[in-house]
């Protein structure tokens, strides 16, 4: 219990550091870029709970992210809900979808599950495109509420994202170290064997898909206030699917540190590439890095360092 106490303490310290960072008056673009990187920390960590721990590859990251974002848009339009409500609601709706795909795993394993999640993303996008209330295909602009608690609104969102990232990482770390993480690892390596040994595979899978979906939705919920203009193509961008996959793969999927390392490295690299070169080239880099890592270092950076140290 003390170990958990320590990790919570470290988390609180990081959040405080984030608030301190928001107090510094550096170029606002730093917060803008920092928000995106932190958002990817949340996404990569959430993806890894299902993809890394349980071994179910989810291509439908955009569906969950956009569901969080569009839940927020709906609540802003209908009742002008405050940001904390948006985050929780966005997370819960996405968690519900997660629970749904959890039941899909009953019949679909491996490749079929991945293709189904990809299909889910497109079906959801079509529904949003045809739903005029949240902007349809043209998109909708969102007004930020006036007067954030401190600083400018972007720095405020930045600190919110720091907190969300810390919570997501702590939850992932907790799952990994508990009996749940061990159960998930067992079903990742051999589902039938795990079931035979008395591991409650279905309950664990449902848990993993729900938690993973929750945090993907949470990552998307502040998105409308961040971009102030939401349209289906940006909310359902394939970039999220590729990045959510690439970041844990680069860092290493078996530990909570992996997605964080991957998200920070790849996120920073693509922010720099977007500014200095072009956004399309940046996507190309992500794709090439992903393929290179899967081929050359399947265990990610963590596995690579472990191997180097071992010899």
């Amino acid at each position: 219990m003390t170990r958990m106490g320590w990790s919570v303490l470290v988390g609180v310290a990081v959040i405080a550091g984030g608030i301190g960072l928001a107090g510094l008056r550096v170029n606002p673009y730093v917060y803008f870029a920092g928000y995106v990187i932190l958002q990817y920390v949340v996404i990569a960590t959430a993806w890894n709970i299902l993809g890394g721990y349980a071994g179910y590859v989810n291509f439908g990251t955009p569906a969950f992210f956009a569901l969080g974002a569009y839940t927020a848009v709906f609540l802003i339009r209908s009742v002008k809900a405050p940001l904390p409500v948006l985050i929780v609601a966005g997370g819960l709706v996405a968690a519900l979808l997660g629970l749904g795909i959890g039941y899909l795993t009953l019949r679909l394993r491996g490749t079929f599950f991945s293709i189904a999640t990809l299909a889910l993303s497109v079906v959801l996008q079509t529904m949003i495109i045809n739903w005029e209330y949240v902007g349809g295909s043209r998109g909708i602009s969102v007004l930020r509420p006036s007067g954030p608690p401190f600083g400018s609104y972007v720095t405020f969102l930045f600190t919110v994202m720091v907190a969300l990232a810390v919570v997501a990482v702590l939850v992932a770390r907790f799952i990994e170290r508990s009996w749940i993480g061990r159960g998930l690892a067992a079903l990742r390596d051999n589902e039938e064997a795990a079931e035979c040994m008395g591991v409650p595979t279905l309950r664990l899978k449902l848990f993993a898909t729900t938690v993973s979906g929750f945090f993907l939705g949470v990552a998307g919920a502040p998105f409308p206030y961040y971009v102030t203009f939401v349209e289906p193509n940006s909310a359902f961008a394939l970039d999220y699917a590729v990045n959510a996959l690439a970041m844990p793969m680069i860092g290493g999927t078996t530990s909570w540190v992996g997605p964080v390392i991957g998200a920070v490295l790849l996120g920073t690299a693509s922010q720099v590439a977007t500014v200095t070169i072009s956004s399309e080239l940046n996507l190309l880099i992500v794709g090439v890095v992903l393929v290179a890592f899967v081929v050359l270092a399947p265990e990610g950076l963590l596995g690579l360092t472990r191997r180097l140290r071992g010899r």
């Binding site: 590859v57 490749t111 293709i115 497109v122 045809n130 590729v242 996507l283 794709g287 090439v288 992903l290």
Partner: protein, 281 residues
């Protein structure tokens, strides 16, 4: 309705490659639609530069794409299949490949819509009563049917075709018979990619293409393959026609923005209710 049937013939051409690679070889090649679009652009470039018929270009380019496909399989085999962790990381590998091809195309050609020109585009046969068949749809449909028939005969009658069927059933047994399963799979993968590129040439005559068109076809391809029963060529054709008709009806009654949801909806349903497909073993 007629348009749906014609669309079905074309969809069959699009899905044959997946049927072969995913259905028979059990390799989840998510990058297949990217090869489709690559075929479209190849046909478009030669068509706009020299005025060659896009479908002729498509046929002429199949050996090239066959070689590319064979190369991709060799890389895949060496890095994943031999190590035995093909399912998860192999999937990610193909997903990355899809992304690389798509972004490369959009960097080279931009995101403008491209379409090929041919003598028959824009003409149609009048059936009377205001019903006509556009050659633009008829020709790709006929080519698609021809491709289906060719592949069917190839798999059933020739040595290599039968070997491909065999490798899908029992690799170990094939090895005992003195054939090299890797060699056979390389051939099958190459044919699958070549079929996709030819279908791409058909696509660029039917409708304008942008690099991200491949995303629309991921769902269609896999929906048809799964619905048709993994690896069944006849089933692929039937499923393709079903999907073509369903999409056309949906577009007519609810508007074109819904037609894409049909394929993915059918895919989800097929996966959830009957993963073995209509004609599955």
């Amino acid at each position: 309705m007629v348009a749906g049937l014609l669309l079905g013939g074309f969809y069959a051409a699009v899905s044959l490659g997946v049927s072969l690679i995913f259905g028979l070889l059990d390799i989840a090649n998510i990058a297949q639609p990217a090869f489709l679009i690559a075929g479209s652009y190849a046909a478009y470039v030669l068509n706009s530069a020299y005025g060659v018929d896009p479908i002729v270009v498509g046929v002429a380019l199949t050996p090239l794409f066959y070689l590319i496909g064979a190369g991709v399989y060799r890389v895949y085999y060496a890095t994943f299949e031999r190590r035995g962790d093909e399912s998860l990381r192999g999937l990610v590998f193909f997903f990355g490949l899809l992304f690389i091809i798509e972004v490369s195309l959009s960097m080279r050609f931009g995101v403008d819509y491209r379409m090929a020109q041919a003598g028959y585009v824009g003409k149609s046969i009048d059936l009377g009563g205001g019903v006509g068949i556009a050659y633009r749809y008829l020709v790709p449909c006929l080519v698609g049917l021809a491709m289906t028939l060719t592949l069917y005969v190839f798999l059933g009658r020739t040595f290599y075709g039968r070997a491909i069927m065999a490798v899908s059933q029992d690799q170990g047994a094939l090895r005992l018979m003195g054939a090299n399963p890797i060699h056979i799979k390389t051939i099958a993968f190459g044919i699958g990619i070549a079929a996709a590129s030819l279908a791409g040439a058909l696509l660029v005559t039917i409708a304008p293409v942008i690099p991200s068109t491949d995303r629309d076809y991921i769902g269609r391809m896999f929906a048809i393959t799964v619905l048709g029963g993994m690896g069944s060529i006849g089933g692929t054709l039937v499923a393709a026609v079903i999907l073509g008709v369903a999409e056309t009806l949906m577009a007519t009654f609810f508007g074109p923005s819904w037609s894409l949801a049909v394929s993915f909806g059918i895919l989800l349903l097929a996966l959830a209710v009957r993963p073995a497909g209509l004609f599955g073993r």
